[in-house]
Amino acid sequence: MQLNDKRRALSAATLTLLGGAPAAGHASVLDGNGNWDIDTAVLVYSESDSRVQLVEPVIKGTLNLGGERYLTTKLVLDTLTGASPNGATPASHPQTFTGPSGGSNYTVAAFETPLDDTFKDTRVQGSVDYLFPTSPNGKLGFGLNASSEYDFLSVGANARYAHDFFQHNTTLSAGVSFESDQIDPVGGAPVALSIMPPNAGDGEQEEDDQEGRERSSSESKTVTDLIVGWTQVISPRSLMQVNYSLSVASGYQTDPYKLLSVVGSDGEPLRYIYEGRPDSRNKQALYGRYKRLMFDRDVFDISYRFMTDDWGIDSHTVDLTYRWYFSQNHYLEPHLRWYNQTAADFYHVALYDGQETQVDYASADPRLSELDGMTLGLKVGSAWRNSGNWSARLELYQQQYQDTGIPPEAAQGLSKFDLQPDLTAVMLTLGYRFKW
């Protein structure tokens, strides 16, 4: 029985298609009676200080149509609540901000990081993918996906091709993906770098900025991704992969709900402006991975990614797992992930009085600042059981920000505030996978 499965799976080890829904390849490895491989999971993500809380269930089903043809469907649901930094700096006095809808204000206590607690979102995402052989050595895959939130709609399509060489020891693959997004910000998209109207909480929605420019109700962007990859079997127990990817985004990439404080030399806010980001962004990434069976039992997996973009962000990511089988059917898997990025050229903690008229773009989004991320995790799970396999993974994620983007004229005044408090999140994933 195992022999048969292994024969059928010969190509699976190398023929991994790149891209969105590449999973079907190893469905053939699993034994069982059904034609469906059902993979389910729920993620609970919780940030400290009552910031973002997320619950995300996923169900994915791969139907084996025979002849190495697979149809995969996936459904994801996100429920987000909690508070998110609005980009403004703390102040020595309480600060009041206009909520995105214009009708709700929120007040932040003195010396506290301004968090927008009106943050709430539900997202539904679905995808369909079809994978089939074009020759004994070639496989082609097509995918469609759509994602919807109350202020965001995304549709996309992708195609991937992989070809095996040298008795399935080498696989070259290429993929292209296209995505079209529509963004409908609550209250309209504010004009970049325009002043947030003070006390708009009287129920009157602000339609124009100070210079009479109208807020647009809808914005859009497109993202085109290209990826090429080389997968190589090194030995009967190890393989490696090298990928290069290019992502070209064009259109609205500003966060319509994020602000910047314009401060005086004392570091206190004079006014708030809406952020603005460039309309185009090109990202390139080089990714390398190595995977090895150890002691004929455990699996060692390490990857590294370098990414660079034309916003000035360079990042390094190292990801390491070791799956240790402590019994025939159960494993423990420690996980370590380290991440570092430089800040975007237009990242500013705050702007100095008048600076907002001298810059084309500005954002105080901490995700665009210089930061280090560290994830430590442990997964426990079952394997090799025909009835189905479960897993549970608990992880701690920490972000530490470097002090960048502080206007020198206000550095002294701002030094009394904790401008970028560290972020800590706990993540729990429970999974169950079975044949049906």
């Binding site: 490895v29 993620l43 996936k74 079997v233 127990r237 990614r305 990511t317």
Partner: protein, 73 residues
């Protein structure tokens, strides 16, 4: 400058030469066929991870197509 290309050619030749001794014969594929040795051994978890890190960091891509389809405010 002219030396660059011969050196590059030598490097490629060495690499390809190295590759020819790489690999596994069809009857040596038992380990590589294990589900946990696949590069996409846990695609659902990988998708969740991509979503988290795409939302909290400024990077995406590499492993597959860049994380998208999410406003991630």
């Amino acid at each position: 400058m002219k030396m660059r290309y011969p050196i590059a050619a030598l490097l490629v030749a060495t690499l390809l030469g190295g590759c020819s001794s790489w690999g596994a014969k069809p009857w040596q594929r038992g380990a590589l066929a294990r589900p946990d040795m696949q590069l996409d051994a846990d695609p659902v978890q990988a998708g969740l991870d991509d979503h988290i890190y795409f939302s909290k960091e400024a990077s995406s891509g590499g492993r597959g197509f860049g994380g998208g389809g999410c406003g991630c405010n």
